[in-house]
Amino acid sequence: MSANEINERRLTIARAMAEAIQQEMQRDERVFVMGEDIGELGGVFGNTRGLLEAFGSERIRDTPISETAFIGAAVGAAQDGMRPIVELMFVDFFGVCFDAIYNLMAKNSYFSGGNFKVPMVLMTATGGGYSDAGQHSQCLYGSFAHLPGIKVVSPSNAYDAKGLMTSAMRDDSPVVYMFHKGLQGMGWLGTEPVATVHTPQDDYEVEIGKAKVVREGTDVTLVGLAMGVHNALQAADKLAGQGVNAEVIDLVSLVPLDREAIIDSVAKTGRLIVVDEDYHSYGVSGEIIATVAEHGLSKLKSAPKRVTYPDVPIPFARPMEQFCLPNPDKIVAAYHAM
């Protein structure tokens, strides 16, 4: 066994998030958590497992099923000097509480000229692929990233998950932290094994607003986030077998968006495919392509492509949903269609 393997400390994203929260709650007593089933249950997706035992029900607060109330309360507590974390169990539930998110959380700092700060984290589960249909499977990245005043991040692996959570809790601006259910490492839901990676014990930050080149290449740039990164990496493996050298960018953060990393990569490869599990139109994929277009189409050797979720509600039936979802083969096909 190599030294590397001995030192490896592989965590799921769920455990990495819980560890980040636990460490920050020990360091900063202003941090507390509110949400549905985040106490005794440890979060439906495991993000708060063990925290109730460690901190008690004052700081790990199970709430009524009242997202408007507890997200609005988080805004008020943040303005009053606390640093709350709230969990919106499924991002699809934003429909019952969006005023608290985009009219209060996102705007109060601006409307106060910065005199009030709203340092809070809203963590929420995204993504489908397990036949939960369109009220429990959306990504909605674009819907959130579209709105000024909130930062938006989404990790693809446990290392980033822990560091991003720590950064989000220390940020003086509100951060929407979107975690993909298919990467979470829950016992009851299949997970992408590559998301479970070495995660250092001590606390650390992953910069919000900085993309990562997770695979270097010269022939095509594949841009994605969360599950999209894994689809892109698997596509890159397939393309490598065909003699095509793909570069993969993990956006990590949608707001701020690291446009420079995308432009630099496309300048090198001349080809761009965006992988996004969110809806096709008016979303992240369009923004990435517009970014490249605005910075000089002359760098492109062919028109950009996007592998995204079609503009339809997410269906229940397995064959229908799988037909709609992005996957590595679709990315490979997109490359060959360039």
């Binding site: 004052e58 008020g76 303005q79 109060n108 409307f111 106060s112 005199n115």
Partner: protein, 328 residues
């Protein structure tokens, strides 16, 4: 609980400041908007919701609050802000959109925020309730003194946010008081046409907390009932819901023709204008002399004149400032 003489004088003065302020705003707001009314024109563009007639609620509540306590206000926030002690110069400048305003002109009249006195607004009906609960929760968790008051209109009581937060506040025994200003109209829809019960205080029973209804737009009665509720909240006994009958002497917003009002309603309301009523009462109860009240009124007018002058003399921020302060 009854106000002492100083408190009565303070309440009267804040009410007069608020009314004189609204009168100045109303006059200036109409500049550039005649003969054709276009909300986008004039020194104060946009919507304008005046608080004329609703002053007793603001002073009856805020007489019990210090700068350290939290208030979340509504789309009709001027009287509440003035009673809470928001800096009037900065508030006026904000309403004009000037650089010296509370947020440099980013918020305007429906989004007045003054962190120095823990005052925040939401222009969306009922949505101040959540932040008020959060401020109350924050104090409770930190073991720090301070209560929160969420002001809302009677129309807001039919919003989900109100019911969710009432339950949360009751469940967690938060030091928060919900104060409903019942001016009988949700824009053009009468309370009786929008609300299943004649008085919203009964809704408190659904959450197991005390509920009170105060008739007559009476500042002393408001002071009394709200004072008990705030005392209760400070002692850790949890939230209270209070609905106050008040009068909207203006339209919902400026430009509102108020054709929905029954004939004679406005005249009847003006006959009950709470400011002359309080003046007469102070004199009748020998709580003030004519000279005292003249002094108060002159001082109030001076304060308003100074604020309006400050706003008018202030410059607009460079337009590109719009791009700043989005993030902390």
């Amino acid at each position: 609980m009854q106000p002492d003489r100083d408190q009565k004088h303070w309440m009267y003065e804040r009410m007069v400041v608020s009314r004189r302020f609204e009168e100045r705003i109303e006059k200036i707001y109409l500049e550039g908007k005649t003969p054709a009314f276009n909300m986008a024109n004039g020194p104060i563009p946009g919507e304008m919701h005046l608080s004329n007639g609703q002053e007793p609620v603001a002073v009856g509540v805020c007489a019990h609050l210090s700068a350290d306590d939290t208030v979340t206000a509504t789309h009709r926030p001027h009287h509440q802000a003035i009673a809470k002690g928001v800096d009037l110069n900065k508030m006026a400048a904000e309403i004009f959109g000037k650089a010296t305003g509370l947020s440099g002109g980013r918020g305007g009249h429906m989004h007045l925020f003054d962190a120095s006195v823990n005052f925040a607004c939401s222009g969306i009906v009922g949505q101040g309730c959540g932040p008020a609960c959060g401020a109350a929760l924050s104090r409770k968790m930190q073991g720090k003194p301070g209560v929160a008051v969420a002001f809302l209109g009677e129309g807001a009581v039919n919003q989900g946010a109100f019911h969710e937060t009432m339950n949360l506040a009751a469940l967690w025994e938060l030091p928060v008081v919900f104060v409903v200003e019942d001016n009988a109209w949700g824009i053009s829809v009468a309370k009786c046409d929008s609300t299943s019960v004649p008085r919203n205080d009964v809704r408190a029973a659904a959450y197991g907390i005390p509920g009170h209804f105060i008739e007559g737009n009476d500042p002393y009665a408001i002071f009394d009932v709200v004072g008990e509720a705030i005392k209760r909240a400070r002692e850790g006994a949890g939230p209270t819901l209070i609905e106050v009958e008040t009068y909207r002497l203006a339209g919902h917003f400026m430009g509102d023709a108020e054709g929905y009002r029954p004939e004679g309603e406005k005249d009847a309301l003006f006959a009950k204008d709470p400011i002359p009523a309080l003046r007469e009462r102070l004199l009748a109860d020998a709580d003030a002399t004519e000279a005292d009240l003249d002094t108060i009124e002159a001082r109030a007018r001076g304060e308003v004149d100074e604020a309006i002058a400050f706003a008018l003399e202030s410059e607009y921020a460079p337009p590109e400032d719009a791009l700043t302060a989005v993030y902390a």
